[in-house]
Amino acid sequence: MKSLILQTATRWLIGIMVLFSLFIFFRGHDEPGGGFIGGLMGAAAFTLYAVAFGTEATRKVLRLEPITLIGFGLLSLLISGFIPVVMGDPFLTGKWLFLDWGGSETKLGSPLLFDIGVYLCVVGFIVVVIFSLEEEKLDHGILENRKSKKRKSRSGKNRGYKHGEGK
């Protein structure tokens, strides 16, 4: 479904969506949001792009293979889990580092890394799922339905399919 309006709009929307997803993600530790919701938002941006421009174009934008994204996500989960272990604490113990930028302080910590892992996995997951389904050639569906129709008409037994929705 190529639509100039949709495509052009998407070009502009995707930026805002990704930005918002990062915003939601970063403030997640203090206000509603976090890795998962942020990831959903980011993934939505890319899948919207895929709907408008097709998956190949989106792959170019994304550069990374979604599965690889998942891989790195899991890796950062593990790392955030093992950081405290290296420091002699149990697995997944939160370790924090506070940076002060003239007045406003920013905190970095292993939970944040953990949340990054979540974010990556979510994006990877949704993107890979939607891409896989998107890239399925539609005509299979159609061809098969026609076949079944033909077969129906030939051997009168009704396979009971109908295309489209009730009108």
Binding site: L4, L19, F20, L22, V61
Partner: protein, 158 residues
Amino acid sequence: MKIFLFNIILAMIWMAVTATFSFGNLLIGMIIGYFVLLVVGSTIDQSGYTRKVWKAAILIIFFLKELFVSSVRVAKDVLRPGFRMESGVVAIPLDVTSDFEIMLLANMISLTPGTLSLEVSEDRKELFIHAMYIDEGVDHVRESIKNGLEQYIMEVTR
């Protein structure tokens, strides 16, 4: 250059939404904005938005007024029993050419009096809209759009 501007804008938006105005936050905003552009930068085309900002302002005000007016009119018709308007799908010849312009025009048409964009022709010469009120005739609809919205948009974009 444009990219950099956009980057700063993004950083501003970032500060706005995070509602913390500090150097650190600006920096973070810049960085995040940079990443955003890294991802979506390729999608931003050459249409300049830095010029004629005030024209844009005018456009926006005009548009908001139109939106309000149109909504009121729709409200009237919706709440009044029976429909006595005439409607149909009308082709509008386009002078605007760039993707951005067409998109902007189409969207604004959709949001303003009794018109709704349906389709842009392959050759981007025509915009097909559904118009609720073509009681004064199809041409009147075309005129109002060409002299109205399209004009304002072109003033902003060129």
